[in-house]
């Protein structure tokens, strides 16, 4: 795999499309076990991201990711804003100065991202948060020597679906305790869209 500026922008555009068309779905997931704003938060944030990216010029992938991060940080709010903001910021830092990102570099960036999210959110795998998608992705990436786009998508999807059976111990759903079981974690679903979008970009690029 190889990621260039054009592809990163396309990644964000595709993510935004998925989020816009699933805005109500995400919100309804958050209504069930949260406060019903996740779709609104993500839609507001990613719309601003594509607006920002389309009106700027970039030399490095890290600059694109930095803008993604800053835009999410300043437009999303809630729990997901700082978490996604942190994830993209960590990726940006990890990829600083690189023009074309290769697979090992990308892998490292995602690892940094997950660590950042875990640190910021003081959460771990199994607590029914977006980490339950990001961490399986890291495990998957660690096992591969080259990125299989299709498998990336299916790994994310399976991880997202697995959040249904978890009992939340972090985030707003934690207040529901047992009643959180049986519902998908909204942040895991939006994270799935992010990786599904990436998978599409990689497939196109391949």
């Amino acid at each position: 795999m190889e990621l260039q500026i054009k592809q990163v922008i396309s990644w964000m555009e595709k993510t935004n499309e998925k989020i816009q068309s699933n805005k109500e779905y995400l919100t309804s997931l958050d209504q069930a076990i949260g406060d019903g704003d996740h779709g609104l938060n993500m839609a507001r944030g990613f719309q601003e991201v594509v607006n920002k990216l389309s009106s700027s010029n970039y030399t490095y992938v890290s600059d694109v990711l930095k803008d993604v991060s800053m835009t999410l940080l300043s437009k999303v709010g809630g729990a997901s804003g700082p978490l996604y903001g942190t994830a993209f910021l960590k990726m940006s830092t990890a990829l600083k100065g690189i023009e074309t990102v290769d697979y090992p570099q990308f892998k490292k960036a995602v690892v940094e991202a997950v660590n950042g999210v875990k640190e910021r959110g003081k959460a771990n795998k199994g607590e029914k948060t977006m980490i339950d998608v990001w961490e399986p992705i890291v495990d998957f990436l660690q096992k591969q020597d080259n990125l299989e786009a299709k498998e990336l998508e299916s790994t994310a999807e399976k991880a997202m679906e697995a959040t249904q059976d978890l009992k939340a111990t972090k985030g707003r759903a934690a207040y529901l305790k047992e009643r959180s079981i049986g519902h998908l974690d909204p942040g895991s679903v939006s994270s799935y869209y992010i990786f599904a979008a990436l998978s599409e970009v990689l497939e196109e690029g391949a």
Binding site: D35, G36, D37, S74, P82
Partner: protein, 331 residues
């Protein structure tokens, strides 16, 4: 969804404009932000007080901006904590060199956004301290979970920390008294009806005709238990008992009481609840120092209420008495 709004996506911005238009001598909106600050901020030689939160809790938080309470309130989208850059703007706007004190309600998002704002402020050399309010006894307090939520008890923190700052208390003194309030305040809420986030357009949950939701939060999130509606007296008894169970009161102790409406509850019902709450407290030998009844921390048009008890000593009583010119808490 029946609401008096224009574009549901613009409710926060338009509300803030309407707020400043209503009270131009008292407050200002920091340009290009969702921050409402005292007109005269920063107040020299005073610790600056900032609170935040998603919108939809009006009169919280802008209603508590004013002499004797907050210096600034940061409004997020409806039920969504504001972003770090906004909080940072508020911090900068109220710092007079004495440092800034942040009142945060204990929600993952609020805490994270505030932490990032604090990092930004400290990078610019502004001293920042904070308190995380977690008065909601509906939620278990465990180090393995997110911990208890912050709800209506937060208003007492604003009032008392605000009074301390108004009296010239140092950042450390303000923090100390805020911590003391947090250690001594407990609340629990219940709802008869859900509420609808304007941009979502549909209610956050559904309750049947005879159902109520106990241990409700203030963001339209479901509560901890759904049960059949009871009488006001039974309800007041249950809520008060749950709060007392989590406090360590001895006979003769004094408390301040807040019976808070969640938005659509007639004041009549709040006073009917208070009738029983005050009876229970006096039966148990606790002394009610002062009672606050009204909409202090709402959830849009949710019908329901919360009961808050704050154990007070002489220091807290004195600070409660200090003048406040905040629009929603004048005294």
């Amino acid at each position: 969804m029946k609401k008096i709004v224009n574009d549901p996506e613009l409710v926060v911005e338009e509300m803030l404009q309407g707020f400043v238009a209503a009270h131009p001598n008292d407050v200002k909106q920091l340009p290009n932000t969702t921050v409402i600050a005292r007109k005269d901020a920063p107040v020299s030689n005073k610790v600056g007080l900032v609170s935040d939160g998603g919108s939809g809790h009006e009169p919280a938080h802008a209603g508590y901006v004013g002499e004797g309470m907050l210096d600034a309130a940061v409004a997020g989208e409806v039920f969504t904590s504001p972003t770090p850059d906004q909080v940072f703007e508020a911090i900068k706007a109220v710092d007079s060199g004495q440092g800034v004190f942040l009142v945060i309600k204990n929600y993952t998002g609020d805490v994270m956004n505030f932490e990032m704002a604090k990092e930004m402020a400290e990078a610019e050399g502004i001293r920042v301290q904070q308190v995380v309010v977690n008065d909601d006894v509906a939620v278990e307090d465990s180090s393995f979970t997110t911990g208890r939520r912050g709800i209506a008890g937060t208003v007492f923190v604003h009032k008392i920390a605000g009074a301390k700052a108004a009296q010239g208390g140092s950042l450390e003194e303000v923090k100390a008294v805020a911590d003391k309030v947090v250690a001594n305040v407990r609340s629990i809420g219940m709802a008869l009806t859900p509420c609808t986030v304007p941009a979502a357009g549909k209610p956050s949950f559904v309750l049947e005709d005879k159902e109520m939701e106990l241990g409700i939060g203030i963001h339209g999130e479901p509560g901890i238990e759904r049960k059949a509606i009871t009488t006001a007296d039974q309800l007041a008894t249950e809520l008060t008992q749950k709060v007392l169970d989590d406090m360590n009161l001895s006979s003769g102790d004094e408390v301040a009481v807040m019976i808070n409406g969640l938005g659509a509850t007639p004041e009549m019902e709040l006073y009917i609840v208070n009738r029983k709450v005050s009876e229970i407290l006096s039966d148990k030998g606790f002394k009610v120092y002062e009672t606050f009844v009204g909409n202090y921390m709402t959830s849009l048009e949710m019908a329901g209420c919360s009961v808050t008890l704050l154990k007070v000593d002489q220091e807290l009583k004195d600070l409660l008495e200090v003048q406040s010119k905040a629009l929603a808490f004048r005294r």
